[in-house]
Amino acid sequence: MKPVDQKAWLLVLPVVLCVAFSAVLPLMTIVNYSVQDIISPDQRVFVGTEWFRSVLRDNDLHEALLRQLVFSLAVLLVEIPLGIALALSMPATGWRASAVLVTVALSLLIPWNVVGTIWQIYGRTDIGLLGVTLTTLGVDYNYTGSSVDAWVTVLVMDVWHWTPLVALLCYAGLRAIPDAYYQAARIDGASRLAVFRYIQLPKLRGVLMIAVLLRFMDSFMIYTEPFVLTGGGPGNATTFLSQYLTQKAVGQFDLGPAAAFSLVYFLIILLLCFVLYNWMQRVGTGERHDG
């Protein structure tokens, strides 16, 4: 067990101050808006929980939430295993390690609006490499017309954009495993699978937790890329939660309902992350007992 020492708070205090300064004050403003009807900056009416009730009854919101859940789940199911596999197959030493590391990280560094724009051209069936290749192969592909194609394109774009984040975290985690562990496994004659299951995976628990939570919450708030790529369409196929929220907030200039919506949104992410976090912590400790 870790020793109890309240003086450790002194080390944490700067962080709490930094974050509270920029997070708590704006959050309070939002809470304040969410219970008022703001007709103009000087004219406000207290409306209590009215906005919250209307948000919870909103059918379009339920649909957007469902789409969002399916999308985030797909993101996790693809990106986490792919990222681990990638980290395991990246070379550990030499110039090749450096070259691969830099190449893998490139997609993370492109501003999000540019990512959407590039894929918009890349997927076009007349002038884009992806679109032309698929059409030549005989696939009936059209991301502006077909909901399935649009959804898959947004998912593939997200996989392309963010798998490197998982891979880099896992790669650094793998490099932090001392050689002695591998030597012991070699002496025991452990198989490749056993090494992964009983040495690498438990040691990656910390970084994987960060990777899963980050990918979950960021994909849950995905906005810029699908907005630029598909504009939420065709129909509503790629209208995820934050896009729906922005339509409400910006389109109707309605601060009160938008604030209530964003609080509900925040609470949903918070709840799901909390469940995910506790579940992963339990799985992790269970592993430590039998491992």
């Binding site: 390690a97 830099v102 560094l109 590039i118 051209i121």
Partner: protein
């Protein structure tokens, strides 16, 4: 057997790298074309390569100052994030104290707020403080999502270092600051490298807050890029060129931290 495994691994890696590089290659070819060529013909490489798009960016102060502004606030933000996150991560990884688990999780909840919603409150807050349109404003605003991330990543790496190392150092008569800087930090180089890169990256690509908090003097490159949409349509070539150039600083950063990421820590050294 071992050889076959090696081959299938390399094949997987090669396939992924192709998947990763092709869209970027496409952006590169776009940046070397005129708008007419981009929109009219499909060609695997530019037929009449032109550097006009890059010339525009390097000669127009509105464009290149965007890069400088971004670099300034990203650098301030990365340094600040790491400076406050390092001691906090150490506290979380080594001690129990009242509310430790709650504070740890609370930190992460600050990343869970849809940024579009916070624009107005942020605008009001920074206007009141007189920080609007300064690099510091953006650097401080970006702390909201970078500090929690840095604390979480660093805590993970610090927990991997056995506590015996701390105890041995104290018995040897090291003071806390001296132990922390000369012994502990070198052990978690990999974590610091990853954390620094992620702070850089998230601050570099963030658009909404950076655009809201600046107007002229500190306008970032990501905001300048939105100008490529004009009445005459989209300037695809210019946007692609700007996109290629936004990759460069980050690639340099990861080139410098690559050794830290790749090395991990060797227990034998202590």
């Amino acid at each position: 057997m071992a050889e076959r495994r090696f081959k299938s691994r390399s094949l997987f890696l090669a396939l992924y790298l192709a998947f990763a590089v092709l869209p970027i290659y496409w952006m590169l070819t776009m940046s070397l074309k005129t708008n007419e060529e981009i929109l009219s013909t499909f060609a695997l490489w530019p037929q009449n390569p032109t550097l006009d798009n890059y010339r525009t960016i390097f000669t127009d102060p509105a464009w290149y100052s965007g890069y400088i502004n971004s670099l300034i606030y990203v650098a301030i933000n990365t340094v600040l994030s790491l400076l406050v996150a390092l001691p906090a991560a150490y506290a979380f990884s080594r001690y129990s104290f009242i509310g430790d688990k709650h504070v740890f999780f609370w930190l992460l909840t600050n990343r869970m707020t849809p940024p579009a919603v916070f624009l107005l409150p942020f605008f009001q807050l920074y206007t009141t403080l007189g920080l609007m349109d300064t690099h510091l404003a953006v650097a401080l605003a970006h702390l909201v999502f970078n500090v929690p991330l840095a604390v979480w990543i660093l805590e993970g790496f610090m927990s991997g270092v056995p506590r015996e190392i701390d105890e041995t150092a104290y018995i040897d008569g090291y003071s806390f600051p001296r132990f922390f800087v000369t012994i502990f930090l070198p052990l978690i180089k990999a974590g610091i490298g990853v954390a620094a890169f992620f702070c850089f990256m998230f601050s570099w690509v963030e658009l909404l807050l950076a655009r809201t908090l600046t107007s002229v003097d500190a306008k970032p490159i990501v905001a300048t890029m939105t100008r490529t949409v004009s009445a005459s349509g989209m300037d695809w070539g210019l946007l692609a060129a700007a996109g290629i150039l936004t990759i460069v600083p980050g690639a340099v950063v990861i080139w410098f931290v690559r050794h830290y990421i790749a090395k991990g820590f060797a227990m034998g050294r202590v």
